[in-house]
Symmetry: C2
Subunit: 414 residues, 2 copies
Amino acid sequence: MNVSEQLSEKQCREMERQYGVLSYGVNTIIPNMELKEKIAKSIQTGMPLKVKLGLDPTAPDVHIGHTVVLNKLKQFQQFGHTIQLIIGDFTGKIGDPTGKASARKALTDEEVRHNAKTYFEQFGKVLDMNAVELHYNSKWLSKIDFAEVLKLAGSVTVARMLERNDFHNRYEANKPIYLHEFFYPVMQGYDSYILGSDIELGGTDQEFNVLFGRQIQEQFGHEKQVVLLLPLIEGLDGVEKMSKSKNNYIGIDENPNDIFGKTMSIPDSLIIKYFELASNLSIEEVAEIKENLQKEELHPRDAKLRLAFSFVEMLYDRNTALQSKEHFLTVFQKKKMPADIPEVVWTKSKSIAIVELVKELNLLPSKSEVRKMIQNGGIRINQNKISDPHMVITIEEGMILQVGKRKFVKLTTG
Amino acid sequence: MNVSEQLSEKQCREMERQYGVLSYGVNTIIPNMELKEKIAKSIQTGMPLKVKLGLDPTAPDVHIGHTVVLNKLKQFQQFGHTIQLIIGDFTGKIGDPTGKASARKALTDEEVRHNAKTYFEQFGKVLDMNAVELHYNSKWLSKIDFAEVLKLAGSVTVARMLERNDFHNRYEANKPIYLHEFFYPVMQGYDSYILGSDIELGGTDQEFNVLFGRQIQEQFGHEKQVVLLLPLIEGLDGVEKMSKSKNNYIGIDENPNDIFGKTMSIPDSLIIKYFELASNLSIEEVAEIKENLQKEELHPRDAKLRLAFSFVEMLYDRNTALQSKEHFLTVFQKKKMPADIPEVVWTKSKSIAIVELVKELNLLPSKSEVRKMIQNGGIRINQNKISDPHMVITIEEGMILQVGKRKFVKLTTG
């Protein structure tokens, strides 16, 4: 008999309550019914569930796309379950052994700790880090010997590995797949076995790797984890998956005004998805916003103001969120300049090409970017649009230079 | 400049002499020119070459097919080079981790040592075992950790592995290949790196595995071994590769009369091949036999007598070879019975079915085999052919029972 059938009526309601919250917004639960069983067992025994999230030690830049999984972890925390964060430092510390010219350099212990600390600080904006376990998988993976590796490998077929999308595509395209790459999912699965994880979270692109934990746990005769795959959210462009490399992201430790402004720039089509997945509003609040948008009782711009506010409140606090909103409304909506423009003391030549000036102040990464911005009408001096990319200007005390919508600099001649 | 170009004229002649002998009868040398370089370097430095042969610890039954490689090793020995025999006990001791019902049981240390001893004894019939190094690869393979395994795996592509014939065929046929199987060639290659082997010998069916040593040695920045692939010889049937499982073999520790008789039974088409590959006759002697056969100055039967004699002489001694030849000529050619028929004291019922009698004396493995032999006219009592498989005979003092061509028993009633 299943544990869920042995619960009292009260326990059963608690199970359904947790299941309702924890399954909300999840793309896929594998297998769905086992999640209820895990929750039921936890309620019956009073033992919290162990909820695992694996992290790449090389890329600690956390953006609002990650809050999808962080908010889900937070829900688990709020029900008293235990979060297991795994820093995958084992492979990070041995580097990429692939016989390529661009072999990845091994991270030092110090770099790994530093990156873990960065995760910890940034995750702390959403999670209660006092109730989080932090693990480094080199602790156990570095101790496995060849015989143990062969045993692990003995449960895995090559065909199964080549089913994984990226492996399959590379194989078909005659691009090399190195044998050690087959071990990444195996190691990830081994982590779940060692930590006795009940649940593992991942993005939908992690399905193959995360499911491996079930196989390895079973191989060792352990209870299999349940896998929760969370949707990936598109970035500010509304097209590509949010990522740092695409430069379509909202960083979790960006300054509040940037978070606010970037959120206001998303396409209307993403509003509900961001509310549902990345914000920490309750299911009921999101449902209400959705309904009001559909009835056209809520303007998309006002919905975005609410969303941007909620992001800053989640990552900073209510007061900061209020200030960011005020800043945004001042600069963008009233087309006025903000009150807190940073001042720069200009000591170089007072006669300078506009392209040089903007580049010199590091407001744009290259001169060609400056010229493009001028063509788009994005550069102003004292609110006057610059239209000639060859223009030479004379620096005057208190001159205000505006680049794009959000960058302002006041020049003083010292 | 190549070492071979730096040799004195005398050294150069010695290099050519060794190369001539060592390359004789070899199917493939990879790469051919490097073998000369290895020999040249050995002559110049006075350092013997390290010549490796890997052995499966589970199957110590050595047959005359193995003398192809043993004779080649002996030639290396005769030039003063060092033989490295590797017992592949590492995988043998961990067993087959494959998740199959028929998982291979791990060998104990004792079994491994026993099998190694059997190899040693049987190889001793051809090689000078005092000048042979014996290695167990568990010594180093058991100490490799996961990080080292990943480094090894990082130089190997999945596509390369799937080029191996049996892997390729299984993959195409959707039969499982387990990931650990990919490590067998890798481990074999690692052995060559650890032992600094200059040469590795193997059958033509071992090409893929043996070549791996070059890759692993190169990965560690070591000089690559040269691979000598030796032809596989067909068994007594002239069709299938000689092997114990096909029962078409001449065992290296069979009794001299059986070795002699079995050799006489090979098809004429194999005579030269056996001389060239399995016997220890010199290149010149074999060439002469070949010429005489072609000119029909030598009868194939006489060539076989010479071959059979050489096998027994190689595996026992000249005297035993003379006796075996005498035995064979007596029994088979003069159709008379041999002088040394073993006697068995018969104490059971004197009236017995012929089928029971032959089975009882363990002359054939089963009653159905006895019946088949009777149908083929292969059973005689006092030289009279038995034709009725149901015949009941009466045992008489001194009665001679003949089963097949070579088995004779004299019954005494005690």
